[in-house]
């Protein structure tokens, strides 16, 4: 029973108020994409033991989708942020780097992902 703070309404929402939406920051591939691209978009998901970015909806609250950065092993939450972004905010990445030196999850466009950056 996780608690995640909804970045829209500020409510510290309990898991029963939330709906999980799987991995965050997927890029959608539509018509014109290759079979491999589309296959990966549909089916391939990160399943890290450690730092993960997830989509959640404050379903029994304000109804908004947001993202959560958390550790799947220790359940530590590094932060939540609105879903209207393609990449995690820098401050959350910095926070993770401070706590999990060398963490990696996925390359983002500007290459930032780990403490090395």
């Amino acid at each position: 029973m996780l608690i995640l703070e909804c970045p829209y309404c500020g409510v510290k929402a309990e898991e029963t108020e939330l709906a999980a939406g799987g991995e965050a920051h997927l890029k959608r591939y539509g018509p014109g994409s290759s079979d491999d691209e589309f296959h990966d978009y549909l089916f391939m998901r990160e399943n890290p033991k450690g730092v993960h970015f997830e989509r959640w909806r404050h379903a029994n609250g304000c109804g908004k989708w947001f993202h959560a950065a958390r550790c799947t092993m220790t359940l530590e939450v590094f932060g939540t942020y609105p879903a209207q972004t393609t990449e995690p905010p820098q401050e959350i990445c910095d926070k993770i780097t401070a706590k999990r030196p060398g963490w990696s999850w996925r390359e983002f466009s500007d290459g930032r992902k780990s403490s090395a950056a």
């Binding site: 994409s33 989708w65 530590e76």
Partner: protein, 1010 residues
């Protein structure tokens, strides 16, 4: 034999005698007794039969850890199996029955399993499963079914007569355990001002301290407990609950408490159990410790008990376990039992202490009483039977030879104490091996972590591996203060109460008794009493290659019974480690999972049962339907009339009447449950073009279009008619039950993918009552209503053509009329304000009389649409069907570059010409095809089953056509028109059906377009 003592019994009230029955026999106990103590007081040492071998078993513990004394309690709708006698408080009229035996506890024919024990070893189930099926079916399964098992399941037809509830609580500090450590921790935490909740599983506070002795602040422990309780009760920021077990610790400080309100007082009224759903900043686990058995042959014979439990029975309940007792131990604590027994007038015939050097002051005290203490000695064997009669004593460091036989009727054993680390471990707290106590205890460096990465569980007292009263109280005071501080309260310095207890000599780790016990002895040395797992079983598993403790657990079933191995786990791990030549910490523990102790399913369900299991959604005309014969059908959370039954009619007759009447005269359908979503904004058209497979942006204002929605996988997920309301507004109908889901689906894409698109979506489903007016007389009744009202919307063919909608007045009601048809008849779906739904329905029924109006239900709706070959989401679709399978290519826009599902529908499997496709099916003899039946083709597959070439998706009797009609998905179906295919039924019959066009009625669509 066990019996009641004339003195002792601090928890019983000898002035209140209670009658109860055990296996139909009336017995007497006292208020304050547990069922276990009362049975012992009545000389009932044997309390059940074991799970696999049906060996006689007696009570071995005195609390929640008890593995043996499971009972069937109560009768009828209050019957419950597998209840622990040790946690069942006695009440007047209690009815208990022992379980897992036939025909009786005393004479059990299946105890023959005992003699077959060499065939029922570790991995028995796995080994049997690989034998041929007939052997399994006719030999093993019947034997196992009869022999293995706990209590009988309650009667499936009866409903639990009791009520249950949930209760929410928020605490700064939750203290689990109301022993002296829990009370001390609570006191320290509460002093900071933190809101503290203390849970104690028993009906009494203070835990073991009053039994174990010593002093606190110079007084007997009981005095300190009373004083501290009074202090805590006087504090506004402290809540104390007894009979409430902390059952689980979960993510981010969530915890469950299980409160047993009336188990001890049935008929008191109110809920029986209450589930506490707790959020705590910090949790102190002051859960004490559990004594370990010693693994010697016959350690399961009734009368063999844990030494601490035996002491409890004497001190707490005034029960002596026997006349002549042997005490076996590897530590000093068991000497306390010897002293208590001696004081109670029981003859302690021998204390056998495995330690060559013996114990400390407690041993000396025992010797001073003239009790014979033998060092370096062990129990070789307790003679099998329904009670203890003979105990063979030998050297600990041997194989069990050179035995001395002593006569005794009870044995107290102590293998040392293990901290109760379950709640610490539930959410990830790690353990370290403590050599001194030979047990796992919480690793303070690795607690369960909260959302900020902070530890949120603090162990206290014996649960933290601190056993002496002084150390335990100091540890608890520190734990309480630490928890409060971590919860954000100022640091306090509440001095710990001063505990004093007799210093104890070092214990000795003993995992097998005697140390080199031969195989015959090991086969009678029990580890897991409830699942009948012995030392020899774990050793066999190790020999067969099971090295992981988790695998060994499953293979041998060690620790998998309802007691989750509270007594047995460490002993089993140690035996496994020894067999593998590994150290215990390397072997590790199995995972501790909540609940700590079984909790009732009723408590988990709480109030969510019967009518309030989930909300029932009712349309504005619900009551009318109910008064007029509605045979209700659940559709999602809605209730819809399946049909309206008239006097003397069955469902089938009612449906046939409704179908014919709608086709021939006039039918009314309450269609209010259909989802209605308003999609509005400058980008609404662009957005709907992505949501639907069809083009919605080009829909003209005033017009309607049937649309399909697919998932990104390409599979059909919803359908409905979309109406363009104005320049930037569309109204989308969804399926019944689809409204919330599709609303969420739209929101998801708007919020997470196209968040820069200017679109709002509102679910207005419940704002409208919607009535389908269907049949050849549909227009007539609307025109009559308008005439009566002196004017209204022109509903003529010319003014309101098929697939268009208009706003206006009908019969004086503000209405929106859609000329859409899901039946193939002339049809208007008319939406009015929900508050006017019933009045409008009444007006239609009244005006429709002369036109033969009748309401119709969902089954008629289904038949009418099936006659027309219209698909139904959930019938023709099942999450694996794409629009192309259903011949709906016409609804897939070729002009649009993209829509959800478009790319997926280009994948190789989606364009495979072998995909099953929609066809109509007509039985050769006019009968109705069985729903879901599969069509079989030539040949067999790799498993020798006949190849399948299709299946039935919808099947009905059509009253219109007077025959069975069906739709189905068939391989190459549309190319096989006229072919007859076979559907084997589960009734043994084979149904033959001809492949036909799915449109059975009015193929040209003339009737709906008049």
């Amino acid at each position: 034999m066990s019996t009641r003592l004339a003195k002792h019994g601090r928890l019983i009230d000898r002035s209140k005698q209670i009658d109860f029955t055990f296996n139909g026999k009336t017995m007497k106990g006292y208020a304050g007794d547990t069922l276990a103590s009362a049975l012992l007081a009545n000389g009932q040492v044997m309390m059940g039969r074991s799970f696999k071998y049906h060996r006689p078993r007696g009570v071995v513990a005195s609390g929640a850890e008890e593995p043996n004394a499971l009972m069937q309690l109560g009768t009828g709708d209050r019957y419950e199996p597998n209840q622990r006698a040790t946690t069942t408080e006695l009440f007047s009229g209690l009815q208990a029955q022992s379980q897992n035996h036939w025909p009786s506890l005393e004479f059990d024919v299946l105890s023959i399993n005992n003699k077959l024990s060499r065939f029922l070893t570790a991995g028995f189930y796995y080994k049997m499963f690989i034998h041929p099926r007939p052997l399994w079916k006719h030999v093993y399964e019947p034997i196992i079914r009869k022999s293995a098992g706990l209590g009988a399941a309650p009667d499936a037809e009866l409903k639990d007569a009791d009520t249950y509830e949930h209760f929410y609580f928020f605490a700064d500090v939750l203290v689990i355990g109301g022993g002296v450590a829990g009370l001390q921790a609570a006191k320290a935490a509460a002093a900071s001002g933190a809101k503290v909740l203390v849970l104690e599983q028993n009906s009494y506070w203070g835990g073991r301290a009053p039994v174990d002795g010593g002093t606190i602040d110079g007084e007997a422990p009981e005095a300190w407990i009373e004083k501290t309780l009074a202090e805590l009760r006087a504090m506004d920021n402290v809540t104390l609950r007894d009979r409430c077990m902390g059952s689980g610790v979960y993510d981010h400080g969530y915890a469950l408490g299980y409160e047993r309100l009336t188990d001890h007082a049935p008929g008191q009224g109110g809920p029986r159990h209450r589930l506490w759903r707790i959020r705590a900043s910090q949790i102190v686990t002051a859960t004490g410790a559990i004594e370990r058995p010693l693994s010697f042959a016959g350690n399961d014979v009734p009368g063999v008990m844990l030494a601490g439990a035996m002491r409890d029975y004497v001190v707490n309940w005034g029960v002596k376990p026997g006349e002549r007792v042997v005490v076996a131990t590897n530590n000093d604590d068991a000497y306390r039992t010897a002293l208590v027994l001696h004081d109670a007038g029981v003859e302690v015939v021998r204390v056998v202490d495995t330690r060559e050097t013996g114990g400390g002051a407690l041993m000396e005290a025992v010797r001073e009483k003239g009790i014979r203490v033998e060092l370096g000695r062990a129990i070789a064997k307790v003679k099998d039977g329904k009670s203890v009669t003979e105990v063979a004593i030998c050297a600990q460091n041997g194989e069990g030879g050179a035995r001395e036989i002593v006569q005794a009727d009870a044995v107290a054993m102590s293998g040392g104490w293990s901290p109760v680390v379950h709640l610490w471990s539930h959410c990830g707290g790690k353990l370290i091996w403590d050599e001194v106590t030979a047990s796992f205890r919480p690793d303070p460096e690795r607690p369960p972590l909260g959302d900020k990465g902070q530890g949120f569980v603090v162990p206290a007292g014996a649960a933290n591996g601190e056993f002496g009263l002084a150390a335990l109280l100091e540890d608890a005071a520190v734990a309480g203060a630490k928890a409060a501080e971590a919860a954000g309260f100022p640091a306090t310095t509440v001095a710990a109460a001063k505990g004093e207890s007799v210093a104890e000599a070092q214990m000795e780790a003993v995992w097998l008794m005697p140390a080199k016990a031969d195989v015959k002895l090991r086969m009678k040395s029990w580890l897991d009493y409830q699942n009948d797992v012995k030392v020899s079983d774990v050793q066999l598993a190790a020999r067969e290659g099971y090295e992981s403790v988790e695998h060994t657990k499953r293979y041998t079933t060690l620790g998998m019974a309802t007691d989750q191995g509270k007594l047995s786990n460490i002993n089993g791990l140690a035996i496994l480690a020894d067999s593998l030549n590994a150290e215990i910490p390397q072997v590790g523990t199995t995972t501790f999972r909540p609940p700590y102790h079984p909790i009732s399913l009723g408590a988990i369900a709480g109030e969510a049962r019967g009518e309030i299991f989930q909300p029932i959604r009712k349309t504005p005309m619900y009551d009318w339907h109910d008064r007029n014969g509605a045979d209700w059908e659940p559709v999602g959370q809605w209730r819809r009339p399946f049909a309206y039954l008239r006097d003397g009619e069955d469902r089938h007759a009612a449906v046939n009447r409704e179908v014919k009447n709608t086709r021939e005269n006039l039918g009314l359908l309450d269609a209010s449950t259909l989802g209605k979503l308003i999609v509005k904004g400058p980008d609404a058209g662009k957005f709907l073009d992505m949501m639907y497979t069809n083009m919605m942006s080009t829909l003209k204002i005033g017009k309607c279009r049937y649309g399909l929605m697919c998932s990104e996988n390409g599979f059909l997920m919803d359908d409905g008619v979309v109406a363009r309301i104005d320049e930037d507004t569309w109204l989308c109908h969804t399926t019944t039950g689809g409204a919330e889901h599709i609303h969420g689906w739209m929101e998801e894409w708007l919020q997470t993918e196209w968040w820069d698109w200017k679109v709002y979506v509102a679910n207005v489903t419940e704002q409208y009552a919607q009535i389908a007016v269907v049949g050849p007389n549909a227009r007539k009744v609307l025109e009559k209503l308008n005439a009566q009202a002196g004017g209204g919307m022109d509903v003529s063919r010319e003014a309101l053509p098929f697939m268009e909608w208009r706003d206006g007045q009908i019969g004086g009601f503000d209405a929106r009329a859609y000329r859409i048809s899901f039946s193939g008849e002339l049809s208007y779906e008319i939406a009015v304000a929900a508050s006017e739904g019933q009045a409008f329905w009444d007006a239609l029924m009244e005006a429709g009389k002369e036109f033969g109006v009748m309401p119709y239900g969902t089954e008629t709706l289904h038949i009418l649409r099936a006659e027309k070959g219209f698909i139904m989401i959930g019938d023709e679709t099942d999450g694996t069907v794409i629009p192309q399978d259903l011949g709906l290519n016409w609804a897939l826009s070729k002009k649009k570059e993209d829509y959800l599902g478009k790319r997926a529908q280009q994948r190789s499997h989606m364009v495979d010409p072998d995909r099953w496709q929609l066809v109509g099916l007509e039985t050769v003899d006019g009968s109705v095809l069985p729903d879901g039946a599969y069509a079989v083709g030539e040949g067999v597959n790799a498993n020798g089953q006949r190849n399948m070439i299709g299946r039935v998706t919808s099947t009905y009797h059509s009253a219109t056509l007077g025959r069975g009609i069906a739709m189905g998905l068939v391989k190459h179906g549309p190319k096989r028109m006229g072919e007859v295919i076979e559907f084997p039924g589960t009734d043994g019959k084979t149904y033959k059906a001809k492949i036909v066009d799915p449109v059975f009625y009015d193929k040209e669509g003339e009737k709906q377009n008049v």
